[in-house]
């Protein structure tokens, strides 16, 4: 193997430092507040997990939101029934998402390519409708599952004296809202990144890449690829379940819209935007989309008038009118444009952009193939 610009140890170090120091280096961008930082970390986990399936095997799942939702519901029920401690919540979130992933994966993986995508989409949509209107005693439908003062919390009620008001989620006493919540998610993100790194470098990962480049040939050599596929699918589902349970940990509410197909589509966008099959890419894509969703959507005309106040009056009004189409309620438009630009000019996502940029300075020439954008879903 050729020498890479960053070896894996350094990569992990740089990544950890970047994640843990987000509150500092994101503050000039207006993104350094706990809720958004938590979202960065959580959706980073979601996207990293998705990338293990899509990036390595080329199987495009359009139903990952179902696992996210199941993770959330499991976590909230753990808060309601057992304890406000987050450890069981995360555990149940991951386990239930894994079980559902096994079930859906076992059936969907009989097909590949577009048929696989459609099957996963169908399952996710079924889950969504179940959560939305059929299983309302469990999910509380559109309103979303919330904690109430009268929840049993059996384990807590044995050990902890009841205080007035709703208890908050905690890690052995440390409250999981605000910055502690972010650091909890961030550490799990780093762990997930590490696991993903190990999978990418392992023989198992190599096998998955083999499936991506030519599954038929793998089968002809007498190898049964199904267990590998299913493992990748379940691992990926468990990552999504972890992300879902973390959403509930930082904010104990689970809503059906988390399982909607738009949420499944979002993680596909994140991965493609950042760079399919790369280690860092999905995380970057997730961050970018969440940034747009939270920051761009909050710009209003008053703010734009302030920003462009240096322009002459007439010009300012015109500029503000035009720009306001792309911020506030129109943030989707900006995101769409950005997505088009990336897909057309940088099919390898933002990571390819960095490589091209790095190439100008003489790096990146000996990049190995694991970040190449070719080899899309093979059938």
């Amino acid at each position: 193997m050729k020498q890479r610009f960053l070896n894996d140890t350094n990569l992990l170090l740089v990544f950890s430092a970047a994640i843990l120091l987000m509150p500092i280096w994101l503050s000039p961008l207006g993104a350094a507040y706990p809720d958004l930082l938590q979202k960065f970390a959580i959706y980073g986990i979601f996207a990293i997990g998705f990338n293990i399936l899509f990036g390595l095997t080329g199987y495009l799942s359009f139903g990952h939101a179902a696992f996210l939702g199941v993770g959330s519901y499991a976590a909230v029920w753990s808060f309601k029934l057992f304890t406000m401690n987050v450890v069981p919540a995360v555990f149940f979130g991951v386990i239930f998402a894994g079980l559902l992933a096994f079930l859906i994966g076992y059936i969907s993986l009989r097909r590949s390519g577009i048929y696989f995508s459609i099957l996963t989409l169908a399952f996710a949509q079924m889950s969504y409708n179940l959560a939305y209107s059929v299983l309302t005693p469990i999910t509380n439908g559109e309103t979303g599952l919330q904690l109430t003062i009268n929840d049993p919390r059996w384990i807590d009620s044995m050990y902890i004296t009841v205080e007035e008001g709703l208890p908050s989620t905690n890690l052995f006493g440390l409250k999981m809202s605000g910055y502690p919540g972010f650091y909890f998610c961030a550490i799990l993100l780093i762990v997930c990144f590490f696991i993903s790194l190990r999978i990418f470098r392992s023989p198992f990962g190599l096998m998955l890449r083999g499936i991506k480049s030519n599954q038929n040939r793998m089968n002809y050599t007498g190898l049964n690829t199904k267990p590998y596929m299913l493992s990748a699918f379940v691992i990926s589902g468990m990552f999504a379940g972890l992300a879902g349970s973390l959403l509930a940990v930082t904010d104990p509410l689970a809503g059906a819209e988390r399982m909607q197909w738009t949420a499944s589509g979002e993680v596909v966008l994140m991965t493609i935007l950042g760079g399919v099959g790369t280690l860092i890419g999905p995380m970057l894509g997730a961050g970018l989309i969440k940034y747009f969703e939270n920051i761009f959507s909050s710009f209003n005309k008053n703010l734009l008038h302030e920003v462009f106040s240096f322009l002459p009056d007439g010009v300012e009004d015109v500029v503000v009118q035009v720009v306001s189409l792309f911020v506030g309620g129109g943030w989707h438009l900006t995101l769409g444009l950005l997505f088009m630009i990336v897909v057309i000019f940088l099919p390898g996502g933002i990571v390819e952009g960095f490589q091209k940029f790095g190439g100008v300075f003489g790096y990146g020439k000996n990049k190995n193939s694991d970040s190449s954008p070719q080899n899309q879903a093979a059938e």
Partner: protein, 459 residues
């Protein structure tokens, strides 16, 4: 293959220790100032206070959201002493001085709830954590109101609900930090029941189409209780009803767009009344389709087929156009009211935007003024004191006559308007005529019937 072969046990331990140290130290650094505060987002010596306006800018309720935002901007202007003052001149007893709140200029930040609980909470959190909002208000859906209200309670930020009509908002999901000026489904049912009996009779068979979330559920529950009697309805007691029968009650998803698959079965169900527990664009679509399917021209059981829309607004009437004529419903407020408060508000709003405000705009405007007034009364922004000022506060001159913020559940009690789609509108906005003003005493109920607890003052 693996670069990690270079990482031996010793290095791994070192790495771990360094990481742990960083993690351990950083939160202390960031939350250093957090403990010095006595309450969340204390404006302290700052010259201004920030209010968070969280409204749907996209989705099925975006028309209401846009109008709410207009009202908020108008309220901010009036609070800061700009414009003609609107309802600040008619609102009694008022402690407002027209110099901001407690001498601090009012500024605001906006966000999009997307009418989704998740997005609404994320947006409200951004306002609280990043923009330092001292109060969150807005929303046009009860699902969102309940979700944001719960979050605000945890954050210790007062939530002045916008348009939310579910019984749950101030019923089983009520919170100490949440306040609702708008009326609710129970009051709609109580006001509509007698009018329906008089207008369309009492041996009717009703078919309910219901938006599938907290608002729709309680709306259907209340309407059924007040028409069929509470015996067959879960969660309602001691209501007599007007002798109607239930044919079916079907739940429909929010934002469905096409309701034809739900309306076709109504045609041959033997029902002679269709109750549309829908709101916003959903109601516009379902009503328009019901009319297109010829429901209103039908005769069933020897009676004219009737449609009832329990929660009505002028914005929806505008969207539904001709179809709204003659249809009964209830509303929190209508711009055509003749009292001084309503007139002052309509005048100020009209001068600013060129058309009359909707009831969503009205309730949001009132909420902003009520919050500001409570801060002035309490003499502080400290939430527990502001809450105490609002609890049990009686006021007048805000378009609904004498109104009280009931302390037991933070629900405003006031008269309820029963309206009908105007047969001969005099302008494109003159769409609703008031059939009856139901007095407060007739729609009042015991706060205990819905359960729930307000929770603590101090969080």
């Amino acid at each position: 293959m693996s670069d990690f072969s270079k990482l031996n046990r010793r290095q791994a331990l070192k790495l771990g220790a360094a990481g742990a140290a960083t993690i351990g130290a950083t939160p202390l650094f960031f939350s250093r100032n957090a403990w010095a505060e006595t309450f969340a987002n204390d404006p302290g010596n700052k010259a201004s206070v920030t209010l968070g306006f969280n409204v749907p800018q996209t989705g099925a309720y975006s028309d209401e959201g846009a109008d709410e935002l207009r009202a908020y901007k108008l309220a901010v202007k009036h609070l800061n002493g700009e414009g003609d003052g609107g309802m600040m001149n008619t609102f009694k007893p008022s402690s407002l001085k027209g110099n901001g709140i407690l001498g601090k200029k009012v500024t605001f930040t906006t966000g999009d709830t997307q009418t989704k609980s998740d997005a609404a909470r994320a947006s409200a959190k951004r306002m609280i954590e990043k923009d330092g909002a001292l109060m969150i208000t807005g929303g046009s859906s009860s699902g969102v109101a309940v979700a944001v209200q719960g979050m605000c309670q945890e954050a210790g930020i007062i939530f002045m609900a916008g348009l939310t009509h579910s019984n749950d908002t101030t019923g089983k999901d009520k919170r100490r930090y949440g306040f609702r000026h708008f009326f609710n489904a129970y009051m709609s049912g109580a006001a509509l029941g007698p009018v329906l009996e008089k207008e369309i009779g009492n041996d009717r068979r009703a078919y309910h189409l219901t938006a599938d979330y907290t608002w729709g559920w309680t709306q259907e529950q209340s309407m059924r209780a007040f028409t069929e009697g509470s015996d067959n309805v879960d969660g309602m007691d001691g209501i007599k009803g007007i002798g109607w029968e239930n044919v079916a009650h079907v739940k429909t998803p929010v934002g469905a767009g096409d309701f034809s698959q739900y309306i076709t079965p109504v045609l041959n169900s033997g029902a002679d009344v269709l109750v549309l527990n829908h709101y916003g664009k959903d109601m516009i679509n379902s009503l328009t389709q019901a009319i297109q399917f010829g429901l209103r021209d039908k005769q069933v059981n020897g009676k004219n087929f009737e449609i009832v829309v329990p929660l009505f607004s002028r914005l929806m009437a505008q969207g539904a156009g001709e179809n709204i004529k003659g249809i009964l419903g209830s509303t929190n407020w209508n711009w055509s009211l003749k009292d001084a408060g309503s007139q002052a508000f309509v005048k100020a709003f009209g001068a600013e935007y060129g058309f009359p405000p909707s009831m969503a705009a009205h309730t949001c405007y009132c909420q902003t003024l009520l919050y500001a007034n409570a801060c002035e009364m309490a003499g502080t922004f400290y939430p527990p004191e502001v809450i105490k000022a609002l609890e049990g506060f009686s006021f007048d001159g805000m378009g609904n006559g004498a109104t009280e913020y009931r302390a037991a559940d933070h629900q405003c009690f006031k008269d309820v308007l029963v309206v009908r789609g105007n047969q001969n509108p005099s302008s494109q906005f003159d769409l609703l005529e008031v059939v009856q003003t139901t007095p407060r005493s007739q729609v009042e109920y015991d706060p205990k019937i819905f359960g729930g607890e307000l929770g603590p003052y101090k969080v």
